[in-house]
């Protein structure tokens, strides 16, 4: 008999191709690869339009993760890796992406990617990544003006939420919805530290609290923690959230309530892909610049 261990913490791995674009008619084909601590994305753009992307879990080494992410994004498109004129690498594992001709920080890439996804009126971006939280202020072109980051502590990061997902055995995609299925007011867990929050959550469960209520308690604590980060840089509207946790309505709604603001909707686009989109846009600019100078 075989038993499979369900991994509650993982987001869905998937790929996407635009039905409206024929890359053969394209002029500038650029690529961006974002190797994060937890997830990796590869984006292919044709003339600055989103053509194809993939999103998957980061493996144990960056070059291999980059290879797999790009290979998957290319799948069934007829495109070859060599058709992509220029690839920019970004993210936690960015120094180890063999096909990337240039490396740009994820701060710059997320700002530019958010500008693409959410529009030029975005001035503050919150990126809730796997192992860090960044608050970025940018201008109308998606250029970074200032940023602050917490990468020392798991509280407020995607990793923290993964720990809770595994502990409560709730798939990460269901956490947001379920955290609202409570019939009374739930206080946030008191600890900032994820290790302590985990033992607090266990105590609450043993004390008879429902799983959904514990989810509410943790989401609220995470929102409070992130507000502290945002307050240090100041929030100017429009406000947008990127990273995996931007898909967690349980966090987003509580966060925007605390901030007394709203976050721009990403529409059809996956906010987890913002970094790779930014990287592909930088790649496009580099291609165009080199063509201009060679004219």
């Amino acid at each position: 008999m075989t038993t499979a261990k369900t991994e509650f913490r993982k987001w869905l791995e998937y790929r996407w191709t635009s039905p409206d674009i024929d890359w053969r008619k394209g002029n500038v084909i650029s690529g961006g690869i974002d190797i994060g601590s937890v997830s990796s994305q590869a984006v292919i753009m044709v003339d600055g339009k989103l053509y194809a992307y993939s999103s998957m879990r980061t493996g144990s080494n960056s070059p291999d993760s980059a290879e797999r992410a790009l290979g998957w994004a290319l799948e069934d498109t007829g495109l070859n890796g060599k058709d992509i004129r220029y690839i920019v690498g970004t993210g936690y594992g960015r120094i180890n992406i063999p096909m990337a001709k240039k490396v740009i920080t994820e701060i710059a890439c997320h700002a530019l990617g958010a500008n693409f996804i959410y529009g030029s009126s975005v001035r503050t971006i919150l990126d809730v990544g796997g192992q860090d939280v960044k608050a970025i202020r940018c201008d109308e072109k998606g250029k970074v003006i200032n940023f602050i980051m917490n990468d020392k502590c798991a509280a407020g990061t995607g990793r923290g939420m993964e720990v809770i997902a595994e502990l409560l055995e709730v798939p990460i995609v269901e956490i947001g919805e379920r955290s609202f299925k409570v019939e009374r007011n739930i206080d946030p867990v008191s600890s900032t530290c994820v290790v302590f929050a985990k033992s607090e959550a266990l105590k609450l469960l043993r004390g008879g609290m429902a799983v959904n209520e514990v989810l509410a308690a943790y989401n609220q604590a995470m929102a409070i923690r992130i507000v502290e980060v945002l307050e240090r840089i100041g929030l100017e509207r429009e406000f947008a959230i990127t990273g995996g946790q931007a898909k967690n309505i349980g966090l987003v709604r509580r966060l925007t309530e605390l901030l007394k603001t709203t976050a721009v909707d990403s529409g059809e686009l996956d906010p987890q892909v913002a970094g790779a989109i930014g990287a592909a846009l930088f790649a496009k600019a580099i291609i165009e610049k080199s063509r201009q100078s060679s004219k």
Partner: protein
């Protein structure tokens, strides 16, 4: 006869003291019912020396759960002064007391009477407390006692950020894949906690003699690392996890 209770995050300790002699020490798991844990601890401590509740003149309580037992006692002693009193009981030369528990750590600089001159506390982050070592032992799949022992076998400096226990778990896995031995990793783990604790202790100020108490003081790998981090010798008594309870028992 005086009784002291220390309700910690993980264990509840009970000490019975008479005329400067420790008569009985008992530790029970705190669990989610602090009141029940205390009752059980008191019962066992009395049974051990064949005494009953009426022989006890005074009961004092300290620790994170000190407010949980108003029916038993409302005489609270704050953790820092209980630690100071307890440390001086064992070592009259104590001037700095570092108390490292499962979920918090404290350092206090004291005078010969146990008066607090300065102190620093960490109760916000597992990386500066016993939980960190426990989480790492779990990641390495070895008991904490063994983890603490093998740290002494390594002479290597192993690269580890380890500012957060959650991130350190994945770091430990990468270090294993990179071929570091468990002994090397254990040394890096204990150095990381010791650096944090030393940093906290420096905020309170360092003076001789430094005494370490609390459950984590039993961890020889940690004590060894803390000696390195503070670059000085450290005093540890037998049963260091009971020092807070003893300190509460002898408090006026």
């Amino acid at each position: 006869m005086k009784l002291g209770i220390d309700i910690g995050a993980e264990n509840t300790k009970v000490a019975i003291v008479k005329n400067g002699d420790v008569l009985s020490l008992v530790s029970v798991g705190t669990g989610s019912e602090q009141y029940a844990a205390v009752e059980k601890g008191i019962k066992q401590a009395l049974e051990k020396i064949d005494k009953s509740k009426k022989d006890i003149k005074q009961i004092k309580v300290t620790g994170v759960g000190k407010k949980a037992i108003p029916d038993i006692t409302k005489e609270e002693v704050n953790e820092i002064s209980a630690a100071a009193k307890g440390a001086l009981f064992f070592f009259p030369s104590s001037r700095v007391v570092i108390d490292v528990g499962a979920e918090e750590a404290r350092a206090a600089r004291i005078d010969s009477e146990g008066k607090i001159k300065d102190f620093a506390v960490n109760e916000k982050c597992a990386a500066g407390a016993g939980s960190f070592v426990e989480a790492m032992a779990k990641a390495l799949e070895i008991p904490v006692e063994e983890l603490s022992k093998i740290a002494l076998e390594s002479k290597k400096k192993t690269p580890m950020n380890a500012q957060c226990a959650i991130f350190a778990e994945s770091e430990v896995v990468s270090l294993i894949h990179a071929g570091f031995t468990k002994a090397d990793i254990s040394k890096a783990i204990h150095d990381a906690v010791a650096d944090r604790i030393a940093g906290m202790a420096r905020r309170a100020g360092i003076e001789k003699d430094v005494v370490v108490i609390g459950g984590v003081a039993k961890n020889i790998g940690f004590i060894d690392a803390l000696k390195r981090a503070l670059n000085m010798d450290i005093l540890v008594c037998a049963n260091p996890e009971y020092v807070g309870a003893i300190g509460a028992a002898i408090s006026e």
